[in-house]
Symmetry: C2
Subunit: 364 residues, 2 copies
Amino acid sequence: MDPRIREHAEVVVNHSIGAEAGDDVVIDAHPVADDFVVALHESLADVGANPLVVRQRTGKRFRRAYLRNHGGEFELPDHELALFEAMDCYVAVRADANVSEESDIDGDVQTAYDRVRQPLLEERLGKTWCLTQYPAAANAQLAETSTEAYENFVYDAVLKDWDAVREHQAQLATLLDDADEVRIVSGETTDVTMSVAGNPALNDYGEANLPGGEVFTAPVADSVEGEVLFDKPVYQRGREITGARLVFEDGEAIEWSAEKNEAVLDDILTTDEGARRLGELGIGMNRDIDRFTYNMLFDEKMGDTVHLAVGRAYADTVGEGNERNDSAVHVDMIVDMSEDSFIELDGEVVQRDGTFRFEDGFDG
Amino acid sequence: MDPRIREHAEVVVNHSIGAEAGDDVVIDAHPVADDFVVALHESLADVGANPLVVRQRTGKRFRRAYLRNHGGEFELPDHELALFEAMDCYVAVRADANVSEESDIDGDVQTAYDRVRQPLLEERLGKTWCLTQYPAAANAQLAETSTEAYENFVYDAVLKDWDAVREHQAQLATLLDDADEVRIVSGETTDVTMSVAGNPALNDYGEANLPGGEVFTAPVADSVEGEVLFDKPVYQRGREITGARLVFEDGEAIEWSAEKNEAVLDDILTTDEGARRLGELGIGMNRDIDRFTYNMLFDEKMGDTVHLAVGRAYADTVGEGNERNDSAVHVDMIVDMSEDSFIELDGEVVQRDGTFRFEDGFDG
């Protein structure tokens, strides 16, 4: 076994979820990641935690078979809910045999299924959790790299000094925490403002997401105004949405289009009312993620990018008294900020063309 | 996909567990059986049941990694128990990548782990469940056949007219139900008697076990007397026990030996007190299982055999007022009854050299 697989498992168990003796852990993983799941069992045994492996989120071939044969009256399964209620920690491992496995599921069926299962998602997000990546061949293919190059890419991004990351990113988190209004401008195509007043800015240094490398918060529900062109592709439901453009008024997307797979964007945005509002503003700061790989876990952390998610807001990012955007979906979309772009906090530029105010070479 | 895979899934869902709309189903399966798990999802979707796939029982590589790294103070995981408490049906799929995957786990560690987890087993057995087989290459290898021949063997045994089986076997079930004392004699090496008074005889026609094909009950706890040579091998914990010989007095094995892997037999019989008592007497009646395949799910159903299990008795086989043998283990072992053998019920021969009283050619 590649020794980095065991190092990765140790980071998940000891840093990301910080598992302790007696913790009941659910691992959701596809069998292409079996080596990593073995390593997770070794690390969880070391601390005396109790793992159970499921194939739910990662059981895409099963879910496709199920959804294509089901009559459509879905219900919340008691046994899955009981499992999630009783667990302490949840580890989801991204790794696929075929990233397009879900590409021929009917969008309405998928939406109905997701909507009914929303309490499961809420329960999971209320626990200590970690989403990470195993460098499977299909994911390398999606990234248009060899498997070996992809392994190096993943482990370089994952096996980092996460304490140093935390310190560097804290500088932006403090600025964002102190700010009320955010404005994001990129070229002629993106100019959007939103309030983040009262909503805490979180510093992501490899806990719930591994790799980490972003600072993020939630926009105030009705405050988003303006238009955004998401110039990086969005990979959802086995298909690639490119050139997504959304126009916001009073916090809601009132108009949208996409160059490719607009129907998938339609399905997402019409899931429920919350799916047309923003649940997250994130600023990518991980410059070791040096290429776009069609994988949001990495892409949203890239340096010189900003991402906005339609749908559900993370509870931790919503301040007391502020409304939390609720939805069955949470879909991140990325704006490139490396050229002809800036971020303003309360009218003051804090990033221009990808360089922050607290970094060398900043040209305010 | 081999069309027999989908037929097999339909038998499991519609006959074995009889799943209905809203049933919460747990499927425990190794990924070598993924085609079958896909087919199960199709059939479960047809009836509107809710599947969740786990890799616990079948996660042998994970369990090995866990048990070899764990300090040894095991505990019952709340999340697994909650899952089993909330589920309606359980489907365990036998299929391996390597049947010897658990062969280098320390016996004491395995025993301690099994003992702590006994409530999970009880919970599972209290639900509607089915144990079945997918014809994976490693299981074909264990059976010393090609994979294609093994596929034919498995599907011939599984895709049967289970109503006809039920009717044929009911003749023996009635005889056994009416009897108090059973005597089993084979050659010079096996002569054992036991009471079954008050314990119901069950007719297995492909529900909890698929394939089915036996009639079974529980011996009365303290009644077993005599000696048994199990002349078919027992495959346990990745190793083959051959020539196991047990001597019973007042229901308890007071002496035992084996030609090969006696240490594994030791581990099993010293798990707890109940592990030295019999929990099951079964009579194999499925003559379509025409060869021994080192797989108890099939072997115990072979025509012309009897099997005795040390350890836990099934609740359904213990009559009111009779004691139920309790143990963390349940290990079946087989006696060949095809030659120089007979079964007596209350002093009357009901089977000689493999032929039953209600069959042509019986020579009482």
